[in-house]
């Protein structure tokens, strides 16, 4: 029997999490190299539209695993449904995006098979028929090639930004509805809510203008906001800025904030502590403006501007307004 790779896509309130496309891109590349079959699954309730969206990618089949008990996410509900499904579909490799939700249930799902989840993976290598997964260790100071014993079942979750979601190959796959297995659900979640009225999902933003300690004072945030407005982007910040209350916590990018991979990430006065870098290094284009030529942010920047942001940013805002027709 042919080996199968299963990508578990993520949805919330019947809306597909775009990061799922990154995992699908990875799955497609892996399937091509190994010759294994690629399938996808999504779990929830009333998720036909989500399954249909996943089915527009080049996969052999999409399973919509549905039950009323999956309406609101719980680790017990998801593990019961996915465990049963995996037992019957018998994939060799299960790929997931490393989201907060996956962090919550995937270790438990893997453990229910006596298996280990390789979490927060940034890439893979396929060498002489052996699969290696690349993880960051010691907060990104080292990378590790990690192997898994046995012949599968293996579980792997991928860090946001490790693969390009916009490079997923289109296709047309059949969708099969699966009635989810149910089990005892011990935790009772209330409805998700946003703390602030203008909460923003930075992970979905195309352009992000982000500020760090180099902005010096709260009133200077305006300078960055003006640029973000001119670019039609979102404003974000590193942890110290949010801790100081200069921007709300929901605008924080980094290991304790959001992980983003926009088309453009403009880092203003951000030195580039690893806690920040892990949250934004998957950005497609990184432009960093910093007066310190040695700032670590320049290590991962596509464009490094060494200079005073208080001079450059207002000038750039004016230029952007001019060239943006």
């Amino acid at each position: 029997m042919a080996e199968t790779i299963l990508v578990i896509a993520e949805q919330r309130e019947s809306k597909l999490n775009r990061v799922s496309f990154e995992t699908l891109t990875c799955g497609q590349a892996l399937a091509k190299q190994t010759g294994w079959t690629l399938e996808a699954a999504v779990a929830g309730n009333n998720i036909a539209s989500v399954a249909a969206e996943v089915a527009k990618t080049a996969v052999a089949k999409v399973y919509a695993i549905e039950d009323g008990t999956l309406e609101r996410y719980t680790p017990d509900g998801y593990v019961a449904a996915l465990k049963k499904f995996i037992e019957s579909s018998k994939p060799k490799l299960v790929l997931l995006p490393h989201t907060y939700q996956v962090r919550d249930f995937a270790p438990k799902l893997a453990a229910s098979f006596g298996a280990v989840l390789v979490s927060d993976v940034v890439g893979y290598k396929y060498e002489n028929g052996k699969l290696l997964f690349v993880r960051q260790m010691f907060q990104g100071k080292f990378a590790a090639d990690v192997s898994l014993s046995g012949e599968g079942l293996w579980f792997v979750s991928f860090q946001s930004g490790s693969f390009r979601g916009d490079q997923v190959q289109p296709g047309q796959a059949p969708v099969e509805k699966v009635n989810a297995a149910t089990g005892e659900i011990r935790t009772h979640p209330e409805a998700p809510f946003q703390e602030a009225k203008q909460a923003v999902d930075l992970s979905q933003a195309e352009i992000i203008v982000s500020v760090g300690r180099g902005i010096k004072e709260q009133k200077n945030i305006e300078i960055a906001k003006n640029l973000a407005d001119a670019l039609g982007g979102e404003i974000a910040a590193s942890r110290p800025i949010c801790d100081a209350g200069w921007l709300p916590m929901e605008r924080q990018v980094g290991s304790s904030g959001q992980t983003v991979s926009p088309k453009l990430y403009l880092a203003l006065g951000i030195s580039g502590a690893i806690q920040h870098l892990v949250g934004m290094k998957g950005s497609r284009n990184i432009i960093a403006i910093n007066k310190d030529a040695e700032a670590p942010i320049f290590e991962i920047a596509d464009v490094a501007v060494v200079g005073n942001l208080f001079d450059i940013v207002p000038a750039l805002t004016e230029e952007v307004k001019k060239v943006k027709v």
Binding site: P75, Q139, L148, L202, L264, I287, D302, V303
Partner: protein, 256 residues
Amino acid sequence: MKILVCMKQVPQKDAPLKLNESATWVREDIGYEVNEPDAYALEEALRQKEKNGGEVVVVTAGPARSQQVLREALAKGADRAIHLEDDRFVTLDAFNVARAIAQSIKDELFDLVFTGLQSDDFGYAQTGVLLAELLGWPHATIIMQIEAKDGGIRVKRELEGGYFQYVNMPLPSVLTIQSGINKLRYATLIGIKQAKNKPLRRVTFDEVSAALKPNQLTIERLYIPQKTKQTEVIQGPPQDVAKKLAAKLRDELRVF
């Protein structure tokens, strides 16, 4: 409430890490400190005890040096400590660490187990969830707030994209604590003195090894990530820089 806090000792943030000879781990002749997310888990446990009464027990799995983490926790107010002491605990995968901890507390009755969000060395973010699975308890991750309610607890989970959610759950259960949700306390002089007389139970590798299985995950090699990017440096008068950047945004990156 009786709370167990799982803690880990990791290399200091600014420690100059060097690879060992086989390039599978770092050399150990460096400074260590408590894994920062675990410090928040401990702080939250101490606050819960101050509010609701009970006991705070701290546990770590690691070599002799990692006892320092337990001593600091006792000095801050933890009541007693469990040290799974052996060099071999360092290279266990998350599943085996969870198995070892579960085995070491099998004769105890905790209401809650706290872990930090993830460790600063491996960064698996799994030990808490795996421990829950092994204990047969429910769990919730990335917790911002905990209150006792109707014999159970109501916790606030952080979701992505600025969303949060309250979850009602029974006891016992396992929670992984979000960093930064409280302000860490310092150990007081009197606390440091008292810590010396607090109980610390040592658990040997042999006492838990029957519960362990072969590591499924092997680090084949550890290396410094290659810089894959070509960085273009732009310098000059602000006006010129601004013009170049704007042109780049329009013509190369096509962001508008």
